[in-house]
Subunit: 83 residues, 2 copies
C-alpha cells in the first residue's frame, strides 16, 4: 500500500473591487515617488498554500476557503489545485 | 493612435520555507478542531495584482517586487503576467 498522495492547493483571497484597499493604494502611490512610473493600480490580498491528502475533496476545500481563509463579506477568492 | 494597453501582473509573496509562519500554523491547527481533517500544512503569504502599461518591462517588475512588495530576507516571490 503506498503512502497517501498529497496535493498542493492555492487559495488567493482579494478584497472585492468595491472595497477600499489602503495597503495597495499606499504601494501604488509610492511607486512614482520612487522612480517607477506606469503602474496604474496595485491591490493586495492573501495567498495561501495548503497541503491536503486524498480525503479532501473540492467541496471541502470550498468550505475551508469560504469559512476560514476569506471573509465573504469583503473578499473574493479562488481555489485551485496545482499538483 | 490607440490607448496604451494595460497588462495585469500577479506577484505572490510567501515566507521562505525555513521561516516560521504563525498565521498559517494557526489555520492548520484549527482545522481539525473545526471538523476538517486531511490538511497537513497551511502557509500564508501575500498576493498582489498590479495593472501596468507597456512601459513597464520585466526587469522593472522584478525591481518593484523585490524592493517594495517582498522582504528578500524572509520572503520569496514570483512575478507573472496574466494578460
Amino acid at each position: 500500500m503506498g503512502a497517501p498522495t498529497v496535493a498542493r492547493v492555492v487559495v488567493d483571497v482579494m478584497p472585492k473591487p468595491e472595497i477600499l484597499d489602503p495597503q495597495g493604494q499606499a504601494v501604488a502611490g509610492a511607486l512614482p515617488r520612487l522612480g517607477f512610473t506606469g503602474v496604474s493600480e496595485v491591490r493586495q490580498g492573501k495567498h495561501f498554500e495548503l497541503e491536503v491528502d486524498d480525503s479532501v475533496d473540492d467541496e471541502t476545500l470550498a468550505k475551508i476557503a469560504e469559512g476560514f481563509l476569506a471573509n465573504p463579506v469583503i473578499e473574493e477568492w479562488t481555489v485551485r489545485r496545482i499538483s
